[in-house]
Symmetry: C2
Subunit: 83 residues, 2 copies
């Protein structure tokens, strides 16, 4: 359900989903672009200190590109809490 990407956390979730969708492991993806497995792990977990450098290498590994767009509706949040 395509999460809105507005934070390192949501970005990490989206990246993980894409990786899984391609059936690859963190190790495989990382090594394909010279990154350590633990770095991929941190990115997917939403590490806010991740560098663009790393982000774009990961995107390359997954054959993805980025886009920016106007923020959409606040869209009532999600992560499992059923208020």
């Amino acid at each position: 359900m395509i999460p809105k990407i507005t934070s390192p956390e949501t970005l990490g979730q989206a990246l993980r989903a894409e990786r899984k969708h391609k059936g690859m492991s963190q190790k495989a993806v990382g090594h394909s672009v010279g990154m350590e497995q633990h770095t991929i792990s941190k990115i997917e977990k939403g590490n806010p200190g991740t560098e663009l450098n790393s982000l774009f290498r990961l995107l390359a590994a997954l054959d993805l590109e980025l886009n920016i767009q106007p923020r959409q509706k606040p869209a009532m949040e999600s992560t499992g809490d059923n208020w």
Copy 2:
């Protein structure tokens, strides 16, 4: 002409375009989210070491969100070349 965003450089270009489009200065944008003007400058100039942290604060300042998508065609550039 929406550049494909696949590197810190192209991301920086896109962000600068958006900021200009909104008629804001680096200082104004930065201060609105607690960032230094020189940090905005570096981001727009394509600093690969920029942290996601900073990126998302800037996106928030500009009221933008991110999206990931499959890489598009190598994209033979531009002006109507019908090849």
